[in-house]
């Protein structure tokens, strides 16, 4: 299958995109004090340089009553304009058009930051924020509309090529469109036509200020996935009304509501790629405007197919381009297999949004740090007599000090987990000669295990991507070699990076001879095969316990997960895996018990303490499977330090954490060689 349609230009009103790939709107948390920053500019510019067809920025707020999260761009302040210019100029340099998404989040917000009542069509509390909003008056509706127009004007002044109205998953306009949140009885409520009135009025007001120079798009939700919400038929009708205004140049789509069904908007790997395709397809059938399809487009072929089957005219590739800024360019050059494929893990992009941190990517240490890396490389390459690298206060900055470039060195990396492989890549990119030694017959370390369970296979692409990069850079990998200090002495590398990961740990309460108590890793690597009644103890609060529980349930075990936490798999909420987990766990009959601390194991009896109440309960399972913190494998590092080698360590062998830490540290250590 060729990717011909993908590379065909398309007109969106006055703007032409050179291909069909859109970097659709998404929050980055790069804003500071309500203003866009240099971080934004560098981030978008990298994607523009990487060949994307169109960029749509994160939302710019249209009104002071709208401040749902801290790092929101306050588009209604004129002070944003210089920042807008910096962004648009950086992007335009690559001849890529950039649109601004403008929005009022309406009732999907809290008054915490704004200290103003939240506005909405009707006093219906959002399930996430649980705050009853103020139903807006007709005068306030006019104010909202004026706010959109004002921000559109700022955007035009700031050099944007178009405006997108976010009317889909988190917006006061959505609030009006949806019968679930619009209970009004005036001209703005009731019939679909009435509910769409505010949208049509905003379109007219915005078009009036931007004239015909800028493109105007509307993002519409195809199924809110909430009770009594709008569904695809409504979306089709709304699109037709939007088209009928004759003032809109394209329609973007999405699915779900950002608060109640966020997990469907930024679907994790449990949900099939292209899952929301029915939405653009149905809309496109009804209207003539170009329609954008979004939702787990990970692959140029997949995108081409969606275009070829007429489901959409443009494809949104958001996380795909967060993970690899050159997604489009690589595909264009026929090197799609060199793409750093997004894992749909949601750990460092979506996940960090929930934690109020700037957007990153588990696989790509450069995401969000484009400017620093650019500077660093330039400085390095120029062999400038630098004494210190760009200082970043946090550990997130690319590196410590820039070493003088004194030619290629022999680097030995021990361990082919994500940390070791990333270190190898970074060092090889610096021109060093890198050799990786791995004990097992295969690369990947714990990631290999993590990806071996149902529906988690895409997590393994992390390793596949790293291996591709290693191959390209000429990194050599030797398998089946368990490294000991003597081997290092024998091979005498110039520098060693230890990335030996972590190993399972037995908690204090497990007796030595308890053979039926095992670690999740033993289940996944096949060294144990539990049966019957199984209790999985979740002290990590991530995929470890839930994955194994599912696997065992599939094998016919009766599984209960217990956790000392308030909920099993606590962090699954952050990566939007929680809802799917619940659906599957229920289907598979997995029991979840919370607030339980294991206290002892005797015979086959497991004692558990309900810590809020102090009551003890017990279980007598056939097997106990532990998802508990592991031990760093650090002896080799210490031995090598003692032996006087130039050595650095990275990843779980420093302190057992997650893959992003392994990758970031690997990159840092590799660059520092």
């Amino acid at each position: 299958m060729s990717t011909r349609l993908l590379w065909t230009p398309l007109d969106l009103g006055p703007v032409q995109t050179r291909n069909r790939i859109v970097f659709s709107a998404h929050l980055t948390n790069y804003a500071r004090d309500g203003l866009p920053t240099e971080q934004h500019a560098a981030y978008y510019a990298a994607r523009a340089a990487g060949g994307t067809g169109l960029i749509i920025t994160e939302e710019h707020s249209t009104h002071p009553t709208d401040w749902p999260y801290e790092k929101l761009i306050h588009g209604f302040h004129r002070e944003v304009i210089p920042g807008y210019r910096a962004i648009t100029e950086a992007v335009h340099r690559h001849r890529v058009p950039i649109f601004a998404q403008i929005n009022h989040n309406g009732g999907q917000a809290s008054s915490m930051y704004s200290r103003l009542p939240v506005w909405a069509p009707s006093p219906v509390a959002d399930p996430l924020f649980r705050e009853v909003p103020k139903a807006v008056t007709l005068a306030e509706i006019d104010e909202i509309i004026a706010g959109y127009a004002l921000v559109a004007e700022h955007c035009a002044e700031g050099g944007f090529d178009g405006i997108e109205l976010q009317c889909s998953h988190s917006s006061i306009v959505r609030g009006f469109l949806s019968p679930a949140t619009n209970h009004r009885t005036d001209a703005y409520g009731g019939s679909l036509e009435n509910r769409t009135r505010i949208l049509i009025e905003i379109v007219a007001a915005v078009r009036r200020v931007i004239g015909n120079r800028l493109a105007l798009g509307v993002r519409i939700c195809g199924d809110e996935l909430i009770e009594n919400g709008t569904t695809i038929d409504d979306a089709v009708e709304i699109s037709q009304m939007v088209e009928a205004t004759g003032q809109v140049d394209y329609v973007n789509t999405s699915i779900g509501v950002a608060t109640a069904s966020l997990f469907m908007i930024e679907a994790s790997m449990h949900i099939p790629p292209g899952y929301a395709m029915f939405i653009p397809s149905a809309i496109r059938k009804a209207i003539d405007l170009p329609v954008v399809g979004v939702g787990r487009f990970k692959d140029p072929l997949q995108a081409e197919r969606a275009l070829a089957e007429g489901h959409c005219d443009l494809v949104g590739v958001v996380r795909g381009q967060i993970a690899d800024a050159e997604f489009a360019a690589k595909a264009r050059a026929g090197a799609a297999d060199e793409t750093r494929l997004c894992l749909s893990c949601n750990q460092e992009c979506v996940g960090r949004m929930g934690l109020n941190r700037w957007l990153g990517c588990i696989e790509n240490p450069r995401t969000g740090r484009e400017a620093q890396y650019l500077r660093l490389e330039r400085d390095r390459a120029g062999r400038q007599r630098l004494t210190s690298a760009p200082s970043g206060a946090s550990g997130d900055s690319p590196s410590g000090t820039a070493s003088p470039d004194d030619g290629s060195r022999e680097v030995m990396v021990i361990g082919a987990g994500p940390a070791g492989l990333q270190a190898a890549i970074a060092a090889a990119r610096r021109g060093h000669c890198v050799h990786v030694l791995e004990r097992e017959a295969e690369p990947g370390g714990q990631v290999r295990l993590a990806a071996s369970v149902p529906n988690r296979a895409e997590f393994g692409d992390l390793i596949r991507n790293q291996l591709t990069e290693c191959r390209r850079l000429g990194v050599t990998i030797e398998y089946g070699v368990a490294v000991w200090p003597g081997l290092v002495t024998e091979r005498a590398p110039d520098h060693v990076i230890v990335a030996t990961g972590s190993e399972p740990q037995r908690p204090w309460w497990v007796p030595e001879d308890a053979d039926q108590v095992i670690d999740v890793r033993h289940v996944l690597d096949g060294s144990a095969d539990p049966f019957g009644d199984v209790v999985v103890i979740d002290e990590i609060g991530f995929h470890h316990a839930t994955s194994v529980a599912e696997l065992l349930a599939d094998r016919g075990c009766r599984v209960e997960i217990t956790t000392p936490g308030m909920v099993v798999g606590q962090d699954l909420g952050i990566t939007l895996d929680m809802e799917n987990w619940w659906i599957r766990a229920t289907d598979k009959g997995i029991v979840q018990s919370t607030d339980l601390v294991p206290m002892g194991y005797e015979g086959r009896t497991l004692t558990l303490l309900h810590h809020p109440t102090g009551t003890e309960t017990s279980r007598t399972p056939d097997w106990v499977v532990l998802a508990v913190p592991s031990n760093p494998v650090e002896w080799l590092y210490h031995d090598l330090v003692t032996a006087g080698f130039s050595v650095e360590r990275v990843g779980d062998c420093v302190a057992p954490r997650r893959a992003h830490a392994a990758v970031v540290e690997g990159e840092r250590a590799g660059l520092a060689v």
């Binding site: 099939p272 072929l301 997949q302 296979a457």
Partner: protein
């Protein structure tokens, strides 16, 4: 003439061709089925009006002329006659157009009684033709899809009328020219070349297989079992077999009765294109991978050795590889 559409579907031995159902759906359920055993033909979309014309074996010239004789009124009253762009349809369409002296709009992707949209310039352009005068159009199979896949209806049960054309034109044979080629026999699908999407039995190979020669062995096995060969993306990426054989979201969507997988892990991107086989056998070293979970018979074993043994058991000769 009020704008109207009518599908003309060439049928062989009761078989509706590729794109036939789509064509009928495009015409709102109005159709003529012409060919052999039309009464037995099964239609998987709504039928409003269907005329059966028993016409013997495929002879496009004679069919076109004959249709005018038996259904001249219906045809004359129809603005847009739509023929599926299947091999027979592509042959019949121009003959029909020539007989009727109507323009032909071939290779359409969308047809209504008012406008016909055709693809041109090797797929770079679409041309919209407004229907000012009666036309014949051919609809590309597969571009439309069906709203819902209905249980097949036997055409005869809904037939508005039945007609018969003289099958042979023995008289003509001795004439100065024979005006149609004669069908000697229809050969059943050659599984090596069949479109995977149409194959009733499929063997799928995945990354568990260790080399391209394994696939050569598999080709022989699948031929013997009357199955077509497919593969996962990993394999097509490696170039061991053609991309057209890739099953999954970015490959072909298949729907076989029988699926046998060797060394396939069963990633969603693969299984999403698998349809719903009646029976699945998988051979894999990992009993827990999703493909094995999906299987009716999951065999834990080295797929490479199993392939070789199968080859031997089927007496397909020693394979050096």
């Amino acid at each position: 003439m009020t704008p109207s559409m009518l599908a003309v579907i060439p049928v062989r031995d009761g078989l509706v061709p590729a794109g036939g159902d789509e064509t009928i759906a495009e015409c709102g359920g109005r159709a003529i089925l012409i060919g052999s055993q039309t009464a037995a033909a099964e239609v998987c979309t709504g039928i409003v009006e269907v005329h059966l014309v028993e016409a013997g074996s495929f002879e496009p010239g004679r069919w076109a002329r004959g249709l005018l004789e038996v259904l001249g009124r219906e045809i004359a009253d129809t603005t847009v006659l739509v023929v599926p762009g299947s091999p027979d349809g592509r042959d019949l369409g121009p003959r029909l157009a020539a007989c009727l002296d109507r323009p032909l709009l071939a290779g359409a992707i969308s047809i209504t009684a008012e406008r016909v949209v055709v693809v041109r310039a090797g797929g770079a352009e679409v041309h919209t033709h407004l229907v000012h005068e009666p036309v014949v159009a051919t609809l590309q199979p597969g571009v439309r899809g069906l709203e819902q896949h209905l249980e097949p209806t036997i055409a005869a049960e809904r037939a508005t009328g039945s007609h018969r054309l003289d099958a042979g034109d023995a008289g003509e044979a001795r004439d100065r020219v024979r005006r149609d080629a004669r069908v000697l026999e229809v050969l059943e699908p050659d599984l090596a070349t069949i479109d995977l999407s149409e194959a009733p039995r499929i063997i799928g190979g995945g990354a568990g297989l260790d080399g391209p020669e394994r696939f050569e062995t598999l080709v022989e096995i699948s031929e013997h079992l009357g199955a077509a060969l497919g593969a996962t993306r990993v394999i097509t990426d490696r170039g061991w077999i053609d991309h057209a054989k890739q099953i999954g979201t970015t490959g072909v969507t298949v729907d076989p009765d029988l699926y046998i997988s060797f060394g396939v892990s069963g990633a969603v991107q693969h299984t999403a294109g698998l349809g719903s086989p009646d029976y699945i056998i998988s051979v894999n070293t990992d009993p827990h991978c999703p493909m094995m979970q999906l299987s009716d018979l999951a065999i834990v074993s080295d797929a490479n050795a199993v392939v070789d043994h199968l080859h031997r058991l089927l007496n397909l000769g020693e394979h050096d590889g």
